[in-house]
């Protein structure tokens, strides 16, 4: 039963440092997603765990054993590739049979293993077909069967759904989690799709520029992101600048925003006069009529763009301070509240507990949010 532990992994390609000291532990039986923008080093990290790349520094432990210098064929991991990579000169059955065969198992045993795993993954009907004759989703299921037929208890998935149609992608992600949980495997799944990560992972590693920015459950990452980058990467945020005007009771504070309006937020560990940013998710903003102007945390503005997104409306609102914010209004609210038009003056507000407050980033907001460091 595998547990994966990475200690201070560093990897350089020429002058570029792809990984800058990664420490990470994946518990036995966990489904972990590594999430990050392209180029953040997430695939490199996965390849290092598989043994397809060697780290320049640091150690890889699988199940307590130091496997840093072990070639991939002896690590007992299953690897699933974005490009699927079924061997083109073998049919599905031969592909699945490949692992047991090269391990030198007896013919009857390897055939039984291949048959069982293909039954479990409901792909046995496609045994005789060649990779070119399979649809993307089926092909990837067979690639997963192939990886599992080696007896791997640790499944490494490199953007496994990236090459598939959007609809199949969504269906298959739940299927993936079901397989992993059903067979009691440990899975590390690399993706750049945050929705995918949020919906299937037990825990998510957020990476940027070769470093781990956060490692937590999807709920915690969404509600209590450690920093502004994570907040913006796991769902978007609107960023408002201001300073702490006054500490209030109950962990609350009064923040004066650019433009002079004061709002109430929950903020700990700040002292008066500290420069801060207040981050509010578009879905946590609410648009009010002028008649409700007595509520707290109100900001005045004008709708500069209104878009229908299917299950919600998205408004761009330019505040009096000149800052622009995005507001998402779900449709069930739109029944009560009329649809806003471009140029319409509106009031937007948010609940104090839904606002995230961070110290003003030293290198400025734009750099803080950029995918490079």
């Amino acid at each position: 039963m595998p547990e994966v532990k990475l200690v201070n992994i560093v990897k350089r390609f020429g002058n570029i440092t792809a990984l800058r000291g990664i420490n990470l532990t994946v518990e036995n039986g966990e489904y972990v997603c590594i999430l990050g923008p392209s180029g953040c080093g997430k695939t490199t990290l996965l390849r290092i765990i598989a043994g397809l790349l060697k780290p320049d520094e640091g150690q890889v432990y699988i199940d307590g054993e130091d496997v840093t210098h072990k070639p991939p064929e002896y690590r007992g991991v299953g690897f699933v590739f974005q490009s699927i990579a079924l061997f083109p000169h073998m049919n599905s059955w031969e592909n699945v049979l490949y692992g047991p065969t090269v391990k030198g198992l007896d013919k009857s045993i390897s055939h039984r293993i291949a048959r069982e795993i293909m039954r479990t993954l409901k792909t046995i009907d496609y045994s005789g077909l060649y990779p070119g004759e399979l649809s993307g989703g089926i092909a990837q299921m067979i690639a997963i069967a192939r990886a599992l037929a080696t007896g791997a208890k640790l499944l490494l998935l490199d953007e496994p759904l990236g090459a598939l149609d959007p609809r199949i992608r969504v269906d298959l992600r739940y299927e993936l989690r079901r397989i992993v949980k059903g067979l009691g495997l440990t899975a590390i799944h690399v993706t750049h799709n945050q929705e995918e990560a949020l919906t299937i992972a037990d825990r998510i590693v957020v990476m940027r520029s070769g470093m781990v920015e956060a490692y937590d459950t999807p709920e915690n990452l969404y509600w209590h992101p450690k920093n502004l980058f994570v907040a913006d990467f796991i769902g978007k945020v609107n960023v408002l600048e201001g300073f702490i005007k006054k500490a209030l009771t109950g962990g609350k504070a009064l923040v004066e925003l650019t433009g002079g309006i004061s709002i109430e937020v929950y903020a700990k560990g700040f002292s008066e006069g500290d420069k801060v940013v207040v981050a509010v998710r578009p879905e946590n903003f609410e648009i009010l009529d002028r008649s409700e102007a007595d509520k707290p945390n109100l900001l005045r503005g004008v709708v500069t763009r209104a878009r229908f997104m299917g299950d919600y409306y998205r408004y761009d609102v330019t505040l009096e301070s000149g800052e622009r914010v995005t507001v998402n209004t779900p449709l069930y609210r739109s029944e009560k509240i009329q649809v806003r038009k471009k140029g319409e003056p509106v009031l937007v507000r948010f609940d104090p507990e839904k606002a995230l407050v961070y110290a003003y980033p030293k290198r400025g907001i734009e750099r803080e949010l950029s995918i490079e460091v």
Binding site: F81, H89, T101
Partner: protein
């Protein structure tokens, strides 16, 4: 199209007409000679068998050395990779007679490896053969060096194109690197292994320049064609040439058809799996897949390239210096380079004249070929029969050059059209035959590697007419391919020996001069001329590298 047919395609096949039209002559010489009976026929059979033995052995060694080298060049990342690549390719552009002479020195004389090891003689006799096979070692060595690039380049191109993800997948599924090679890579590169081997085989079968220099008493089929033409045994030469051309056709065309098939993957029958030897193989491969062993294999292959290619070039350069004023062993001034060039043997004017002939013919034939090649490449890319045309155009590249030379001689010369007598003009006409395919292939490579069709369509939608589009869009994009092809064809033309010797008459170009010098034992002069020829070609490659580097 007419120009193409007359200048390129017709000479390739004209050879066939000779044994038919002059059948009596052929019968007289080959089958029923009143003096020697069918002695010539038996000679033909014997040289053909010998050539086959030699070429097949060369191809086998090519594969043993070439597969690891191609893998190293395609997948490896190490300093000096470009250098290794250049060294492997060098024999493609070095004039073969010069290279043959360099190899001769290296292996059989005290100036070469033997001298370096302090033996006081060469480490090989020219006539030394591999015991039990009758294959001359020196000839085999030269053929391996000259044909290795074909195997390495073909395989390397295929490996680069193959996605390494299949190898990664196989490794994570528990296969060692050797098992991965056998079960995953080999089936996918098998077509390339075939086509590389066929090219190498054809090249070895037709090789003339270097072989003549190192041949000693044993002669190959390609050389026999040249010798018999010199002895005015046209019938026998044409007959043998025709057989060579037919053999080349028979092996090239099936492979071409096989390779242009849709999948490009050959599924080998699961022989090992069926026989139950799989487990034995797996164990063996797992033992041999150690990193150290793999690196050792690479080192051995690199070392082989160094011995085959680099050392001869060094030896020949070193010898010129040693022989500059006098023979370093006897101390006689008559044996020095200076004496032979400027003294009574007076080779200098001959060298200068040969240089002029070489450069003129290389320049003119390349120039004409470029103009023929551009529309040809266009036709090949645009029309359905282009593929056939392309396959046909490969033939001059692989047909033994002496047979090709004989064919052009017969076609233009006194026997048929009577238009042109052997000399520089016939050299030019002959060189065009193999220059056009070289240039066409490089243009096509660039064409297919770029989005030129897209640019052309864009230009058309922007209101440009087809001619304007070709001039302002297509040609500039293809410029690199055209230049590359022209330089390749220029160096090839400079070094070509087999065909040139047949059609040159009294206009002796520099590559043929080396052969003549060796045959008349003017060793210091041959030394100088070989070095001179090799360095001119290397300078040209250098220019070529500079021209293609900037992107």
């Amino acid at each position: 199209m007419v120009a193409l047919a007359v200048l390129v395609l017709l000479p390739t096949v004209f050879l066939a007409s000779f044994p038919i039209v002059y059948f009596d002559e052929v019968r007289y010489e080959v089958f029923e000679n009143p003096l020697v009976g069918d002695e010539n026929l038996r000679m033909i059979i014997s040289v053909l068998l010998f050539s086959f033995k030699l070429s097949i052995s060369a191809v086998i060694i090519d594969l043993v050395l070439g597969i690891p080298l191609a893998f190293l060049l395609a997948r490896g990342r190490f300093p000096g990779k470009t250098l290794l690549e250049t060294l492997v390719t060098l024999p493609l552009v070095i004039p073969t007679s010069g290279f043959g002479f360099a190899s001769l020195l290296t292996w059989t004389t005290v100036s070469g490896i033997g001298g370096w090891l302090g033996l006081g003689r060469g480490i090989l006799e020219t006539s030394a053969t591999i015991p039990g096979t009758g294959i001359p070692i020196l000839m085999l060595i030269v053929h391996v060096s000259l044909t290795l690039p074909y195997v390495v380049r073909t395989l390397q191109a295929k490996l680069v194109e193959l996605n390494p993800v299949y190898e990664d997948a196989s490794r994570t599924l528990g296969a060692t690197s050797l098992t991965t090679f056998r079960k995953i890579l080999l089936p996918q590169i098998l077509p390339a292994v075939f086509s590389g081997s066929v090219l190498a085989f054809a090249r070895s079968l037709g090789e003339t320049g270097a072989t003549m220099v190192v041949s000693g008493v044993r002669i190959t089929a390609a050389i026999a064609v040249v010798r018999w033409e010199f002895e005015f045994k046209l019938g026998a030469a044409a007959f043998l040439g025709l057989i060579l051309v037919l053999i080349t056709w028979l092996i090239i065309l099936p492979v071409e058809l096989l390779l242009t098939g849709k999948q490009g993957i050959i599924k080998p029958p699961p022989l090992i799996y069926k026989t139950g030897l799989e487990k034995v193989f797996l164990k063996l491969e797992s033992k041999l897949s150690k990193r150290g062993l793999r690196n050792l294999l690479y080192v051995v292959c690199i070392f082989a390239v160094a011995i085959l290619v680099v050392i001869p070039v060094i030896v020949v350069g070193e010898s010129v210096v040693a022989y500059w004023y006098a023979d370093p062993y006897t101390g006689k001034r008559e044996g020095g380079v200076v004496y032979q060039l400027l003294g009574p043997p007076n080779y200098l004017p001959a060298i200068l004249r040969a240089t002029a002939i070489s450069f003129t013919s290389a320049f003119v034939s390349t120039y004409i070929s470029v103009f023929l090649s551009i529309p040809l490449a266009y036709i090949i890319e645009r029309y359905r029969f282009g593929r056939v045309l392309r396959a046909i155009l490969k033939i001059p590249l692989v047909v033994p050059s002496s047979a090709l030379g004989l064919s052009t001689l017969l076609m233009w010369g006194p026997k048929f059209m009577g238009l042109i007598t052997p000399g520089i003009w016939l050299i030019i006409l002959t060189h065009i035959v193999f220059s056009v395919p070289v240039i066409v292939e490089t243009i096509i490579a660039v064409y297919e590697g770029s989005d030129i069709k897209l640019y052309e369509d864009a230009a058309r939608t922007l209101g440009a007419n087809p001619y304007y589009t070709a001039e302002k869009i297509s040609l500039p994009v293809l410029k690199e391919g055209i230049i590359t092809g022209a330089i390749l064809s220029f160096t090839h033309s400079l070094g070509e020996t087999g065909a040139t010797m047949i059609v040159m008459g009294s206009d002796i170009p520099i590559s043929a001069l080396v052969v003549n010098m060796v045959e008349s034992l003017a060793i210091p002069a041959a030394l100088f001329t070989s070095t001179y020829l090799i360095f001119i070609s290397m300078a040209l490659i250098f220019v070529f590298r500079l021209a293609t580097r900037r992107k």
